[in-house]
């Protein structure tokens, strides 16, 4: 099987195809996650900062998780597809599904990140004379970044996985190799496509993890501490590290 995959990937005839499909897949993922982020992250910040609408966030993210992605995809494609013409009929409904699926993890991550900021830090910021917006941008958002990134990663993986499935509804991207290979029983093509999709998902996750490392303050992640610092915070660390928030599920 490995030989089949390697020889399929190595064939010169497939190279242009692979590059084109890879580009499409990355394009869909960035476009859908980007649009979703523009909606979800400000909304999550507002809800986390003001404390209004918490109930809605918890329920939306719980409810969204229970809807099977495949069912949602086919429902929206069948519903919107006939109203659109040309290439748009294939592209837009799938893209809408990707955006809809990317919103809940980022909304929940942003909200939870801001909501879980230590009240003492918030009070200290106010005590220093910061206004509401300053507290949000200088204290709450930096502290919330790890969870915001965790939501972003969930959303990206969800979008990459669902874009693959959306190939059955006419979307381009790497999913085409899996679906076209399946329809003609060409296992090497399917398997090679599956390897490419898996590699893309891992690569995207890695890239975001690196960005997260660069962006998130060391004071929050606790890296590069001296030995004395570490001994001092060990007792508090234990209680902090136990607050894990499941921001979203993918696939």
């Amino acid at each position: 099987m490995i030989n089949d995959i390697v020889s399929w990937l190595g064939e010169a005839a497939n190279r242009d195809d692979i590059i084109q499909r890879l580009g499409e897949h990355v394009g869909y993922a960035l476009l859908a996650t980007g649009i979703a982020a523009l909606i979800a992250i400000p909304a999550g910040m507002w809800i986390g900062h003001t404390g209004r609408g918490r109930f809605a966030v918890v329920n939306i993210s719980g409810f969204a998780r229970a809807i099977p992605t495949l069912g949602l995809l086919y429902f929206i494609v069948l519903w919107l597809g006939p109203n659109l013409s040309g290439d748009l009929a294939f592209l837009l409904p799938s893209l809408i599904v990707l955006i809809v699926l990317a919103i809940p993890p980022m909304l929940a991550g942003t909200y939870a990140g801001i909501d879980e900021v230590d009240p003492a830090a918030r009070d200290a910021a106010r005590g220093m004379g910061m206004r509401g917006s300053q507290v949000l941008f200088k204290v709450e958002i930096p502290c919330a970044l790890p969870l915001i990134f965790s939501g972003l990663r969930s959303a990206l993986l969800q979008v990459v996985a669902t874009a693959t499935i959306a190939a059955t509804a006419g979307l381009g991207g790497l999913g085409r190799f899996l679906i076209d290979g399946l329809s003609v029983r060409d296992y090497p093509q399917m398997a090679a496509g599956a390897v490419l999709v898996a590699a893309l998902a891992l690569a995207i996750d890695l890239v975001v993890a690196v960005i997260q490392r660069l962006v998130v303050s060391r004071g929050i992640t606790g890296r590069h501490r001296t030995r004395r610092d570490r001994a001092a915070v060990r007792s508090t660390d234990d209680s902090l590290s136990t607050t894990t928030v499941t921001v979203g599920t993918v696939n």
């Binding site: 099987m1 998780r65 229970a66 809807i67 099977p68 992605t69 495949l70 069912g71 949602l72 086919y74 429902f75 494609v77 069948l78 519903w79 993986l157 990459v160 996985a161 693959t164 499935i165 059955t168 509804a169 999913g175 899996l178 679906i179 399946l182 296992y187 399917m190 398997a191 496509g193 599956a194 390897v195 999709v197 898996a198 998902a201 891992l202 996750d205 234990d238 590290s241 136990t242 894990t244 499941t246 599920t249 993918v250 696939n251």
Partner: protein, 214 residues
Amino acid sequence: MDWFTSHLDDVWELLVTHAYLAGVPLLIGLLIALPLGWLARRFSWAYPPLIVGTGLLYTLPSLAVFILLPGILGTRILDPVNVLVAMTVYTVALLVRTVADGLGAIPDDVRLAANAMGYRPIRRLLGVELPLAVPVISAGLRVAAVSNVSIVSVAAIIGVAQLGSLFTDGFNRDFFPPIITGIVACGVLSLVFDIVIVVVTRLLTPWTRARTAS
């Protein structure tokens, strides 16, 4: 509604298969994740590789896994075993971290008190630490249950019959009733799993109720 009532038997059969494909891996996955999570908590060198490794497994898109597993396991592509294995992998990937964090959240005083009462490490783990970690583990299991129900339906694309088959069927015929039935049935199944987990958790943690009652 007419479509649903006239296909009640078919839908029920698909629902049962779906429950089997999503539910059995939940149990096997929990049984695998418990020792792995304990390992990650017990030996600090084991924590990073286990958490990163299971995290990477979870990033793999489901359709890719469903297609690659037959090549790895030597099974036929339509074999439901592929789905069972894939879902077990996803469950383990979600739960190892939960178990490790659940065990890690137990206060040191509790551990010391158990030691003072003469508990040996294994009895302390099974009799004190694990029961106290049940609420955290159960929260992770609820997430895994809902996510499994959704992921299993993707297997309909490669032809493994379950509730997801209603989606592909409806899509191929440009026909809404099976799709809506499938979405509702998946929701009901998720709800049933959720209720079962919550009830079992309550039975396993009688002390949480004693506290609220007083």
